[in-house]
Symmetry: C2
C-alpha cells in the first residue's frame, strides 16, 4: 500500500499558496478530490449535498495540528492525507456506518507549497476511494500570523444503511469483548521515528498510514454488537469510554490479547526487543491504529476479522477496565507503560 | 440582541484548559451545546447521527483563525461563537436549506480559559437555537507549540426539506438579481474597531454578530430562485462566483442598491461621513454580513425580505459583474474601494 516517498516536501516559493493564490490553490486541490458516489452537489458551491440511504447521516470531526498529530519530516503529504481520513472513517465505522463524504478545513501558512497541499488531498482521496467516498467541500484560510503549523480539520459524513447506530453505552454484563484490526503498530512506528530510524518499514508505515478495518464496523452492527468504538487513544483508554458509558467493567484477557495481537511473532516484537520495550505495553496503550473494539452478546458468532479479547462484567468493586481482573492502570504499569493512554492539554 | 460584555476575556490560569484537562473542558463546553431537534445521537460518542427529512444532507465547513477572522479584544467569546455559526448557517441557507446541526473542531493553546471556550459554545448554541439546531459533535486539541491563536473549524449540516438545492450555476439572462439582508454593516463596524472606537453600537454589533436572513434562503428556493449564494467576501466578489458558474453577466443597478441598502439614512452613512468613506464602497465590497443574493425568473414575485438590485444579462463583451453596465472593478474604484472583495493568502 505504502510507496516510498521523499520525507521532506520540496519548498518552492514559486509554488507557494501566497504566489498561486486562493482560487488557484483551491482549483489544484479540488482536482485531487475524486468523486463521492453519494454526492448530489460536490465542491464549488456554498455547501455540498450528500445523499443518505435511510434518512440519517453519521457525522464526526477530527482536528490534526502539525507538530502534535503529524510531522512533515516524518510523513509525506499523502501519508498525512491518508491518516487524517483514516481517523474519521474509523469513527464512522465505529458507529456501524460507512463514510460517504469528507469536508476539509485547512489553515496553512502562506509559504506552504501547493504541491504539498495537493499531496494531502491525494492522500485523503486515496483513503476514501475504496468506500466510494471523496472530499465534497471545505475551506482554506491563512494560518495565524505567529504560526508555521498547518491545522487540518476533517469532517466525515456516513451512512448507516438502515442499521441502528452502535453506541458506547450498550455493553452488558456477560457480553464478549472483541477486537478487529491491529494494535500497537502505530506506537511502535512512532517509537522508531522518535529514535531517528525509518525501519522496519512495516511499523513505520503503520504509523504513517493506519489501516483501520472499516468493513468490520458495519459487520459488527449487523451481527448485533451492543457497544463499539475505535481505538484512537489506546485500548485501555478507549475501552474506558465504553465502560463508563455502559456502567460496566470490561475485563481483558491478556493471553487472548497476546494470541490476537502478538502471534505469530513479527515486526512488533522485533522492534520491542531492539528498544527494550514490552510489546504488550504498545498493544494496551498505543493509539492511532484505529482498530475497532466492540462488545457482542455471548451467543453471537463473531463476524470475520473479529477476535474475542475479554468479557464484560458488572461494575462491582472494580469498575472501568481490568486486565485479568486487575485494574487497568496497574496492568499498564506492570508492562512499563506511562499511563493508560493519550491525554490532551499536557 | 447584543448585551454589553467585557472586551478582554479574563485570564485565569486555574481555569485554563491545561489545568481543567481535556475531559473536564469537553464536559463544560458540551453543557452549553443545547439540543438539536434532528439529532438521534448527540455529543459523546465516536460520531453523531442526525436525521434528514428527504434522504439528503447539506454540508459546509468554515475555518476561523484568531487574528485573521476574529480578535479576542474586539469580540466576546459569545460573539465569536455567534459569528462562526452564522457563517455556516448562511451557507446552508444559500443552498435553500435549514441548518440542523453543527460539528466544531477547535485547536487552542493550553492557557485558554475554559470560561472563554464555554462562551464560544454558548454563542454557537444561541445562534443555532432559533432553527432547532445545536452542536452535536466535535474535537478539541492543543494548538501548535508556536502559536497563541485559537483555530475554530465549524461544519454545518442542513436539510433541504424536499427542495432542490439552489446552485451558483443556474442564473439565466433576463433573471432579476435580488438581495435579502444587510450589506456593508460589518465592514463599517470593522472600520470603527480598527480606529479604536466601539460605537456606533449598531455597526460594531453587526461586525461582531452578523444577522443573516436564514429564512430567506429556503423561501427563495420555494419561489424558484435560479442561483443563490451568501455574501461573505463582498457583493461584487460573491456575485462574481454566480456570474462565472452561470456564464452570465450580472448587472447591478446602483440606484436600486442605494434604495435597498442606504435608505433611509442610518448609522452606515453616519460612520461613512465621520470616516470620509463612500458608504456604497462598503455595500459593494464589504464582507461578513452574510446577506443572501439570488437570481429569480423575471415573472416571479420576490418573496418577503427580498429586493431587486439588478438584472442578469448574456455574457457578451463585459462578462462577470457590472454596475450600471460598467465593469465591477471600475465601479469599485469609483467609490474608493481597494478591490472587489476579500482575497486570502496575501
Amino acid at each position: 500500500m505504502t510507496r516510498p516517498r521523499p520525507l521532506v516536501p520540496r519548498e518552492d516559493p514559486a509554488d507557494s499558496v501566497r504566489v498561486v493564490g486562493e482560487f488557484g490553490v483551491i482549483a489544484r486541490v479540488t482536482a485531487q478530490a475524486g468523486t463521492a458516489r453519494a454526492a448530489e452537489v460536490g465542491p464549488g458551491d456554498d455547501a455540498a449535498v450528500v445523499r443518505t440511504s435511510d434518512g440519517r447521516v453519521v457525522a464526526t470531526t477530527d482536528v490534526l495540528v502539525e507538530g502534535r498529530h503529524f510531522r512533515r519530516d516524518w510523513s509525506s503529504a499523502e501519508d498525512i492525507g491518508h491518516k487524517a481520513a483514516a481517523a474519521n472513517l474509523a469513527d464512522v465505522a465505529a458507529m456501524g456506518g460507512t463514510t460517504t463524504a469528507l469536508l476539509v478545513g485547512l489553515a496553512c501558512p502562506p509559504d506552504t507549497p501547493t504541491a504539498w497541499l495537493e499531496g494531502v488531498a491525494a492522500g485523503l482521496a486515496e483513503e476514501c476511494a475504496p468506500l466510494g467516498a471523496a472530499v465534497v467541500g471545505g475551506d482554506m484560510v491563512t494560518a495565524a500570523a505567529d504560526s508555521t503549523a498547518v491545522v487540518l480539520s476533517v469532517t466525515a459524513l456516513g451512512d448507516l444503511g438502515g442499521r441502528s447506530p452502535v453506541l458506547r453505552s450498550g455493553a452488558r454484563a456477560g457480553d464478549v469483548v472483541a477486537l478487529a484490526g491491529r494494535l500497537g503498530w502505530s506506537a511502535a512506528g512512532l517509537a522508531v521515528l522518535r529514535r531517528g530510524f525509518s525501519s522496519p518499514v512495516a511499523v513505520v508505515s503503520a504509523h504513517r498510514r493506519p489501516t483501520p478495518p472499516y468493513g468490520a464496523g458495519p459487520a459488527a452492527a449487523e451481527r448485533g454488537a451492543t457497544a463499539m468504538c475505535d481505538v484512537s487513544d489506546g485500548l485501555l483508554a478507549d475501552l474506558g469510554h465504553i465502560a463508563t458509558a455502559s456502567r460496566v467493567a470490561v475485563d481483558l484477557d491478556s493471553a487472548a490479547l497476546v494470541r490476537t495481537c502478538l502471534e505469530p511473532v513479527g515486526p512488533l516484537q522485533q522492534v520491542a526487543a531492539a528498544l527494550g520495550v514490552d510489546p504488550l505495553a504498545w498493544v494496551l496503550t498505543g493509539g492511532e491504529d484505529h482498530a475497532l473494539v466492540a462488545t457482542f452478546p455471548s451467543w453471537v458468532e463473531l463476524p470475520a476479522g473479529w477476535a474475542a479479547i475479554g468479557t464484560v462484567r458488572r461494575a462491582g468493586k472494580n469498575p472501568g477496565v481490568l486486565v485479568n481482573g486487575e485494574p487497568a492502570d496497574e496492568a499498564a504499569r506492570a508492562v512499563g507503560a506511562e499511563g493508560v493512554g493519550h491525554v490532551h492539554f499536557r
